[in-house]
């Protein structure tokens, strides 16, 4: 007997066949189940957040007498290591997310469904952005704790209430907001690499090489600092406003350019397959 007709695919597109941004993120979130992606980011976030705490716990005397605000001192002392962990998390996360697509042909199935080309990529980027927010929030909490615990009584440290507290919160938000912006080109480029390489180990290898290349680039050169994997190592606290603007603009340009490259890749894909 024929079943009801209610479950049939609509011949007329319901929403033009395009997933809304929110649905796209939810869908990508569902695909991550049992991959270890969330525990990896949670663990990685804890590790990165532990860096300033451990550093201050074992050698606080090195930093307490330094000039500058608490955030500036803490970021200068720990950010290189924290940023390295963040970038490695992004690289491995991107590899993991695309591994589930490539391993059993999931990506091909997605491409044969009525979704906008590139929506899988941008959905994954959005998921990664959310995870970056989570990790940076954990790191910000850690820096706040260090500031409160070790920098009580010093300028810009140890105050939670009043004007000093507000100033600290604003400075903290600026620092980590800036870190978030500067990690985005690295996120997009990592996904481009992961999408291009069907073998996860190849994309992971390229990503790791890029991370270590970034650590070796001289920070004095502005042009070399624009390498997407080197951008997240920049520290907001203590940086001149003009340089902050330059790096922020460069990050936006890189995101747009890399997003455009993804569009070209998607368009060109069918021609070579």
């Amino acid at each position: 007997m024929m079943r009801t007709f209610s479950g049939r695919r609509s011949v007329l597109p319901k929403c033009n066949g395009v997933l809304s941004g929110c649905n796209g993120i939810l869908l990508e979130g569902r695909k991550i189940k049992r991959t270890g992606f969330f525990p990896a980011f949670f663990g990685g976030g804890i590790l990165a957040a532990a860096v300033p705490i451990v550093n201050m716990a074992v050698r606080s005397e090195m930093y307490l007498g330094l000039q500058g605000t608490a955030i500036q001192i803490l970021m200068d002392a720990n950010w290189q290591m924290m940023a390295m962990l963040n970038v490695l998390l992004v690289v491995s996360g991107a590899c993991l997310l695309y591994h589930v697509e490539h391993a059993d042909g999931g990506l091909q199935k997605m491409r044969s469904l009525p979704i906008r080309e590139g929506s899988v990529f941008f959905g994954k980027v959005a998921v990664m952005m959310l995870m970056c927010v989570l990790v940076l929030a954990m790191e910000a909490a850690s820096v706040s704790f260090c500031s409160w615990h070790w920098f009580k009584g010093q300028a810009g440290g140890g105050q939670w209430r009043g004007e000093g507290g507000n100033m600290f919160a604003i400075e903290l938000c600026k620092s980590f907001g800036y870190a978030f912006l500067l990690i985005l080109p690295c996120v997009v480029l990592s996904f481009l690499i992961a999408e291009a390489c069907k073998n996860m180990w190849v994309s992971l290898g390229i990503g790791v090489v890029c991370v270590f290349t970034a650590t070796m680039l001289p920070t004095s050169s502005f042009v070399l600092s624009l390498f997407p994997f080197a951008m997240p190592f920049q520290v907001f606290a203590g940086m001149e406003a003009a340089w902050v603007t330059r790096f922020a603009c460069a990050a936006v340009v890189e995101i747009v350019v890399l997003g455009g490259v993804e569009r070209l890749v998607v368009r060109g894909k069918g021609a070579f397959e």
């Binding site: 479950g7 695919r9 597109p13 929403c15 044969s112 469904l113 979704i115």
Partner: protein, 277 residues
């Protein structure tokens, strides 16, 4: 009425031509068997229909919609299974179909319906990567059948199935046009397989369509050319062998109306054996 139609569809990679000047006509409501040896260009043609690979030249329409202008609208109407089952190994069978259901905006019941159709309901909670080859194949089919699409494109859907599974899937495919009012384009390199399922056949070799029509027409043509007709498999092999021995005839411009494929049929000429379509 032809629901799928190609006009000189060609796909080439550097100096290799995978599909050459293909003019295919798939009638609505029929099971169309796409036949050819390995490497004939069947999968490439099917991939072009799904936008997985771009045609080098030529065009095609599906249900009156053109590619690439109406890509999303075309894909909304097609359920597909290409080459091998595609799924997410870290998800269960049910979760895999749930993802497709959400993309297509189907009701929740469509997942259990598709699982039931392919006989995977008892294993729906098992991770897809732990499925046997046959179960993966069924999951791929469920992904194509979910939401009962008006057009189904199935590339060698019985690969990896045991004889019972092959029989079940064959019966299912055969029943789809009547049951779900859909058109099926199914490929295989086995004529015996296609013979049991299809109303129409298209035979492809080296990217060229050698024949298009009903099995009766195929037999008639074989008789007229002196090919063996007792056994369809032999007839198919003779046809492929003859084409292989005359590569110069493969140039599309050299094909005349007397060739196997080129007879252009009028809409409505395609009629299913049962009278439908």
């Amino acid at each position: 009425m032809d629901i799928m139609e190609t006009k000189n569809l060609t796909k080439s990679y550097a100096d290799f031509v995978a599909v050459s000047g293909l003019n295919l006509h798939v009638p609505k409501g029929a099971v169309y068997g796409f036949l050819g040896p390995n490497g004939a260009g069947k999968s490439t043609t099917m991939k072009m229909f799904l936008g997985l690979t771009k045609p080098t030249s030529g065009s095609f329409t599906i249900d009156g919609k053109r590619y690439p202008e109406n890509r999303v609208e075309i894909l909304r109407e097609i359920g597909s299974f290409i080459e091998a089952p595609a799924f997410y190994g870290n998800l269960s069978g049910e979760e895999n179909l749930e993802i497709i259901r959400r993309i297509l905006g189907l009701p929740k019941s469509s997942v259990s319906e598709a699982l039931e159709t392919v006989g995977l309901t008892p294993f729906k909670k098992r991770l897809a990567r732990k499925y046997s080859l046959g179960m993966k194949q069924r999951l791929g089919l469920a992904g194509a059948l979910i939401g009962r699409p008006p057009i189904l494109i199935l590339d060698e859907p019985t690969n990896g199935l045991d004889p019972v599974g092959i029989h079940e899937i064959r019966t299912l495919i055969r029943s789809l046009p009547e049951k779900f009012d859909c058109t099926v384009l199914v490929s295989s390199h086995l004529l015996s397989e296609i013979e049991l399922m299809a109303d129409y056949v298209g035979i492809l070799n080296h990217g060229h369509l050698l024949f298009e029509g009903t099995l009766e027409e195929l037999k008639e043509n074989a008789v007229s050319r002196g090919y063996p007709t007792d056994n369809l498999e032999e007839m198919f092999l003779a046809l492929i062998d003859a084409d292989n021995r005359m590569p110069e005839k493969r140039m599309p411009e050299k094909r005349s109306s007397k060739n196997w494929t080129s007879e252009k049929r009028m809409p409505g000429e395609h009629r299913r054996k049962g009278g439908a379509g």
